[in-house]
Structure formats: structure tokens, C-alpha cells
């Protein structure tokens, strides 16, 4: 059995496979290279970072069991002389010392195989009892009594509903429920608070996209240049002046060339020209813009800018 294979077909198939394979790999890889959309505006130095991450010598330490510490530490020390007998009773029942002992005991006893099931069962009980002592603490008791009260009604509620609701649902025609189903209005119409409506109010509305538009390199760049831009003009027509300036940047965030004034607009040409120079000064004065993301160099290699005096008055 000899199969006649057309060499051109083989070459064609191989070539297509190669091309498609290369395309799948290369394009899929590129699609994953989503440029980071957001950048932090604040620039911190290594010194600032170490300051922020450093701990405080006089900082508060963790207090794992504040309630117990109050009962156990304060009272015995203050009243050690006069009320020894009374306190002993309290201490024995509620002191923090007992718990560690029972914990140690079960650990030691567990490895012992001979006393198999009976003791382990008792030990857990002891362990349960030993956590119980805190119940005598008034706060803990109050908490537990609250907890005890809560579950009971829930259990009753759980127990009760299954039996009666079934017949009721079948028999009763509830108009309000039908009306609710037909009501297509926005649920936010109901009387709820603003916080419930928009829990992330500080970040804009739930459907907003402001978080994707701020904190880009542009925001940081604008803030940096603005710090150096101060044009001395006090006319009430200030908002009519505008200057277009183009700048070319190096990868290290410095200017590749002198900023070019492309156009000036305003009621007075001499003032607009002076403003153009002022804008040039601002861009030069504030370099280098080292915070610009190097992986996005193509987006800020050339930056066209417009300087204005809006809202100056």
C-alpha cells in the first residue's frame, strides 16, 4: 500500500499549521498583555516607605482576653491580704490558670492507647467545662444568655413554618404578592437610606467608571506640572487665554527637547505670548517626571498640552 502524497499539499498543510500555531501563541500572548490602567499618584521615597512600614515602639500590644485579665489580675493583687478565703473560691472557679492544665492533660492522655474511649470522652467534657468558668463572668453570662435566647426562637420558627405554610400557600390567593411580581419599578425607589442605596459612595455610583479614569499617569503628570505653573495675570478675562504646548519626553522622564509653543489664544497677544513662556518654564522647571511608567513610554513619548487660566479669578 503506497499512498501518493502530494509534496506541495504536505508543505502547504505544514506551513498552515505553523502559521496558525504561531498566530495562536503570539496573539493569545499579546492579548494578555493588558497595560496597567491605574497608577498611584503619590510618589514615595524609600525613606517614606520604611517610615510607613516601621512599627511603633510604644504601640499597643494585642490583648487576647481583655475581660479575663481584668477579673484575674486586678482583684487578687489589690485584695490579697484581707479576703483570701472569699477570693480563693472565685479564683478557683474563674481563674485563667485551670484552662492550661486541662489542655495539657488531654494532650498527654491522648497518646495513651490503653484508656481508650471512656477517658477521651470525659476529657472533652472537662475541656468544655473549663471554658465554661468564664460564664460566671457577668459580661460573658450576659452574652451567653443572649445567645441562648436567640437560637430558641429560631428553632421554633424553623420548626413551625414547615407544617402550616404548605396548606396556606395553596389555598390563599395573596394579591399583594402578585402585585409585587408585576411591579417592574426600580427597587431603589423604596425608602432606604443613601448608605444602603450606594454603599460605595466615595467611589462614585455603582455603574460609574471614574475609578478607571483617575489615577493614571496623566493625573500625576498634570499635578506635577501644575505645581510649577504660575502665570502672573490678574485680569478678569483670564479664562480666555490658552496656550498649546507640545513636549517630547525621554524614557527617564526628562524633556527630550525644549517645549514647543504651538499656539496661543487670548484677548492680548503679548499676554498670551508671556503665558506661553510661563508654561514652557513650568514644564522645564518640574522635570524630571520619573514617575511616568516606562512600560507605557509610547503613550507619553510625545505629550500635547494646553495651559489655561480657567477659574483663576
Amino acid at each position: 500500500m503506497k499512498l501518493k502524497v502530494d509534496k506541495t499539499l504536505v508543505a502547504s498543510v505544514a506551513l498552515h499549521v505553523l502559521v496558525i500555531g504561531w498566530g495562536l501563541i503570539s496573539f493569545s500572548a499579546r492579548s494578555l498583555e493588558a497595560p496597567p490602567e491605574a497608577l498611584p499618584i503619590d510618589i514615595i521615597s524609600s525613606a517614606d516607605l520604611s517610615k510607613m512600614t516601621a512599627g511603633l515602639k510604644n504601640g499597643e500590644k494585642d490583648k487576647p482576653k481583655p475581660l479575663v485579665e481584668k477579673v484575674a489580675d486586678a482583684k487578687p493583687v489589690d485584695e490579697a491580704v484581707g479576703k483570701i478565703t472569699d477570693k480563693k473560691e472565685v479564683v478557683t472557679s474563674a481563674a485563667p490558670e485551670p484552662p492550661p492544665k486541662p489542655v495539657d492533660k488531654p494532650v498527654e492522655k491522648k497518646p495513651e492507647p490503653p484508656k481508650p474511649e471512656a477517658k477521651p470522652k470525659e476529657e472533652p467534657k472537662q475541656a468544655e467545662k473549663k471554658p465554661e468558668p468564664p460564664k460566671e463572668d457577668p459580661i460573658a453570662e450576659a452574652l451567653k444568655s443572649d445567645e441562648a435566647k436567640k437560637p430558641k426562637p429560631k428553632q421554633e420558627a424553623k420548626a413551625a413554618p414547615p407544617q402550616p405554610p404548605k396548606p396556606k400557600q395553596e389555598r390563599v390567593f395573596d394579591q399583594s404578592k402578585i402585585a409585587n411580581l408585576l411591579d417592574k419599578r426600580d427597587p431603589t425607589r423604596q425608602s432606604i437610606t443613601g448608605a444602603a442605596l450606594n454603599p460605595t459612595s466615595s467611589l462614585g455610583t455603582a455603574t460609574g467608571n471614574s475609578d478607571t479614569r483617575v489615577a493614571t499617569w496623566k493625573g500625576a503628570f498634570v499635578a506635577a506640572v501644575r505645581r510649577c505653573f504660575s502665570f502672573p495675570y490678574n485680569g478678569q478675562d483670564a479664562d480666555q487665554f490658552e496656550v498649546d504646548i507640545d513636549i517630547n519626553m525621554k524614557l527617564d522622564g526628562t524633556l527630550a527637547s525644549t517645549p514647543v509653543v504651538v499656539a496661543v489664544r487670548g484677548p492680548s497677544r503679548s499676554v498670551a505670548d508671556a503665558m506661553g513662556e510661563s508654561a514652557q518654564r513650568a514644564v522645564q522647571q518640574c522635570q524630571a517626571y520619573a514617575f511616568l511608567p516606562k512600560d507605557q513610554y509610547q503613550t507619553w513619548k510625545y505629550i500635547p498640552m494646553t495651559f489655561g487660566l480657567r477659574d483663576l479669578m
Binding site: 504660575s230 502672573p232 490678574n234 498670551a272 518654564r281 498640552m305 483663576l312
Partner: protein
């Protein structure tokens, strides 16, 4: 985008395909770059900030010039600071000491203290006794010299040289003419309030070089500078009715303007300095007249059963603004300079008086009274855009700086105290008291001396 193209080209062996892919790549590149090209990044200042400028003492040409070198730098610093547009940096913060203005400064030293502009200068006494003043204005960011001049003058005029240099700096950095080389005529007031002596006085715009033009025997009011000559017109209460006078600053000569029956008051020069417009009392009313100073001919401009007063020309001489109570209470009206239909332009609450047309032609300043307050404000020449610059008890008599960017006025708190002069920007910022030897009122700003 070129990275995207490179891997694609070697894979293609068909000319048409390659062409297609290159074209596609180019299109993609153009599409990717388009938003960056189209979207200009907009930058507006958060708030007005004066421009930081460094003004070291001028280098002395010889040891005896050190004093004047420091004094000139001090006057320039004071001028620019008082303008509100500049923030001169304290000399104590300077890192570099300028010793030779013919060598470019180390700009990094001035960048470090955040100076955007640097002024260096030298004062040298010449062999003939004159004073030579040189200065250079530097752009710290680029290291470029923005301007440089030298002047010769008599040593006693060093202060004027400082004002001229201040104007050069102001104009180069703001694009507008300065106003520092100018003077102010005002009414100097001395003595107790019941026997106040009022004299005409002249001073530099910064309050220096005060000299008195009259002796105080007669009451003087409303002095006004000629825009083109070294002359002043003012009203004086002599033996009879108050009259309008013309006073030559250089010669000290004075003459009465016309000889009208009754009172003449509120005089002001025309922009060419050849005419004086004023009010003449006629019974219970007053009307506006203009007198040609050469021919002495007089022309009536208004004829109303009301009080028309305080006329002021537009800088092009085509129109005048004035105050009239023809509508019931004092308001501001505008009419053609030759007379004709007057149009009321003030419509706010209260009364408006003492209108003054800006030398730039863009605003009319006024005193507004209402609710026990006297406010100084400006409005556009059609009455729109009214803006109150300062308000309080008895602010009055605004006068524009030669460049129309600053207003001077007087404030009289009343009681045993007396009036003082103040300046404020047309933006309403930077209100400052002008130092005068005594009480002062009725200021009038001169045009630029040079």
C-alpha cells in the same frame, strides 16, 4: 507599534499579503496614536499664585556703590511684591552670591530655591559723576536671558531707575506694560478734623519722594493728572465760588480754567490733554461742559434739570461716562464725547458715583453706596460684569494705574482719624495701604513717565 509589525513581515511570502499586513499595521499604529494626538492634556492653575523671583543686591562697580546697589534691589523687590503678581524670594535663602553679572549664574542654585526668574544687576558710578545701572533678567528653568538693559542717570535719580527696571521686568514676564515709573497726586491732610489743612502733594506710586504743590491756605479737591503733559487740574475753594485750576508741575505756575459764573468742579483731562471736561453749577442743577485749553472755547454737553457730574473720558476719547441723578438717584451714564443720548449702565442696588474709565478701556471703576457701606468696584463699559473690589465705611475716589491693572482709592474711617490711600487689584486681591506722611485723600494716578 513597530514591534507589532516586525514579527509579521518575515512570515509572509506574498507581496500582496505583506503589503496588506504592513498597511494594517500602519493603520493600527495610527489608530493607537490618534487619541494621544487628539487629546491635549489640560492644565489650569488651582489658584492664583504669584511668580517666585530672586532679586539679589546689584553688584557694586566700586565699593562706594554698594549702598545704591542694595537700595535699587530693594525698590525693585518692593515694587514687584506690592504688585501682587510676584513673590520675591527672601535674600537669606539665596545659595549663590552674584559677583559678576557678565557671567551666567549657576542656575541650579536658583532652581533649588524654586526661583522661576532671576534679576542680576550692577551699579557703577562713572567718571563724569553719573550713575550707570545695568540689569539682566534670567529664565531660571532654561538658563536664557529674557531681557537686559543699561541706563545712565544722575545719582539722585537712582530710585527712578529702579522703577524703570521694575517696569521692564513686569512687562517681560506678564506681557503687559508696568506702572511703577509713575506718580500720584493726592490731597495731603494735616491738623485736627475741625481745622484740617489740605495741600496738593505729589509722590512716587510707592509713596516715596513726597513733595507739596500748594501751601494749604485754600481748600483743594479732586486733583487730576493730565495724560500727556506734566500738568494737574484741580478744584480750589478760594475767596468766592470754588473754581477749576490748571497747575504745571514743572514750572509751578497755575491758572484758572475759564471764568464761569457759579461753581465749577469735577475737572478731568481729555486723553490728548488738550481739553478739560467739568461740571458747572446752574441753580440747583449742574451740567457738563468741555473747554478747549488752546482756544478757551467752551461746549455744553448736557442740559438736564439734574445734577450731572464726575465726567471721565474713554481712552480713545469717543465717549464719556458720568454720574447723574436724572433718574431719581445717582447712577452712571455713558454718552458720546460730543454730547447726545446718554445711556444708563448701572442698575444695582444703591447709588453709584465717581465713575472713572480705565486707561485700557475695558472697565469703569466707581464708588457704590448702599446699606451704610461704601464700596469700590468695576464694571464693563456696558454695565455688565459688576465686581466689588473692596467694601466698608467710606471708601471713595478710585483711580486707575497707567496699565489699568490696579486701583488706588482712599478710605476714611471717620471720627478723629483721617483718610488713607489704598491700592487693590482689578481682581479684588492684594489690597495694600500706600504709605503717606499724613492723612491722604483724592488720589489721581499719573500716566507712565517714560
Amino acid at each position: 507599534m513597530s514591534d507589532l509589525i516586525k514579527p509579521i513581515v518575515p512570515m509572509s511570502n506574498v507581496l500582496t499579503r505583506r503589503t496588506f499586513m504592513v498597511a494594517t499595521g500602519s493603520a493600527l499604529a495610527a489608530w493607537g496614536a490618534a487619541p494621544a494626538l487628539a487629546q491635549r492634556i489640560r492644565i489650569d492653575p488651582d489658584a492664583f499664585q504669584p511668580l517666585p523671583i530672586a532679586i539679589p543686591n546689584f553688584v557694586p562697580g566700586s565699593p562706594q556703590d554698594a549702598q545704591v546697589g542694595g537700595d535699587v534691589a530693594g525698590v525693585i523687590t518692593n515694587n514687584l511684591k506690592r504688585s501682587g503678581l510676584f513673590a520675591p524670594i527672601d535674600q537669606a535663602a539665596f545659595i549663590e552670591r552674584i559677583t559678576n553679572i557678565d557671567v551666567a549664574p549657576q542656575f541650579q542654585n536658583w532652581k533649588t530655591i524654586n526661583a522661576q526668574a532671576l534679576v542680576t544687576g550692577r551699579m557703577t558710578r562713572q567718571g563724569d559723576g553719573r550713575l550707570k545701572a545695568e540689569f539682566r533678567l534670567w529664565d531660571v528653568a532654561s538658563g536664557q536671558q529674557l531681557t537686559g538693559q543699561q541706563y545712565f542717570t544722575a545719582p539722585e535719580y537712582w530710585r527712578r531707575i529702579a522703577h524703570i527696571i521694575s517696569d521692564q521686568i513686569y512687562e517681560r514676564l506678564t506681557g503687559e506694560k508696568g506702572y511703577f515709573d509713575s506718580r500720584v497726586v493726592f490731597v495731603d491732610e494735616t491738623g485736627p478734623s475741625e481745622r484740617r489743612v489740605k495741600r496738593l502733594a505729589l509722590m512716587d506710586q510707592d509713596g516715596a519722594n513726597v513733595r507739596y504743590l500748594t501751601k494749604g491756605a485754600d481748600l483743594v479737591l479732586t486733583p487730576r493728572f493730565s495724560p500727556s503733559t506734566q500738568e494737574i487740574t484741580y478744584m480750589e475753594f478760594g475767596q468766592g465760588d470754588p473754581k477749576v485750576y490748571l497747575y504745571n508741575i514743572e514750572t509751578g505756575q497755575r491758572e484758572i480754567v475759564g471764568n464761569f459764573p457759579g461753581m465749577s468742579f469735577s475737572p478731568r483731562f481729555s486723553p490728548d490733554g488738550q481739553r478739560i471736561i467739568m461740571s458747572l453749577q446752574q441753580g440747583a442743577n449742574s451740567n457738563l461742559f468741555v473747554m478747549d485749553l488752546r482756544s478757551k472755547s467752551t461746549t455744553r454737553l448736557t442740559d438736564t434739570p439734574a445734577i450731572d457730574t464726575s465726567p471721565s473720558y474713554a481712552p480713545d476719547g469717543s465717549r464719556i461716562c458720568f454720574e447723574s441723578d436724572r433718574g431719581g438717584k445717582p447712577q452712571i451714564y455713558v454718552m458720546p464725547a460730543a454730547g447726545g443720548q446718554a445711556q444708563r449702565i448701572s442698575f444695582g442696588d444703591g447709588t453709584y458715583s465717581t465713575p472713572v474709565w480705565s486707561p485700557r478701556g475695558d472697565y469703569i471703576a466707581f464708588t457704590k453706596q448702599g446699606g451704610g457701606q461704601f464700596a469700590i468696584g468695576i464694571m464693563k463699559t456696558d454695565g455688565s460684569g459688576e465686581r466689588i473690589l473692596t467694601s466698608g465705611f467710606h471708601n471713595e475716589g478710585p483711580t486707575f494705574s497707567p496699565n489699568g491693572r490696579v486701583l488706588m482709592f482712599f478710605r476714611d474711617p471717620g471720627g478723629t482719624s483721617g483718610p488713607s490711600l489704598f491700592t487693590v487689584d482689578v481682581s479684588g486681591r492684594n489690597e495694600q495701604r500706600v504709605p503717606t506722611p499724613g492723612f491722604a485723600s483724592d488720589p489721581a494716578w499719573s500716566p507712565l513717565l517714560s
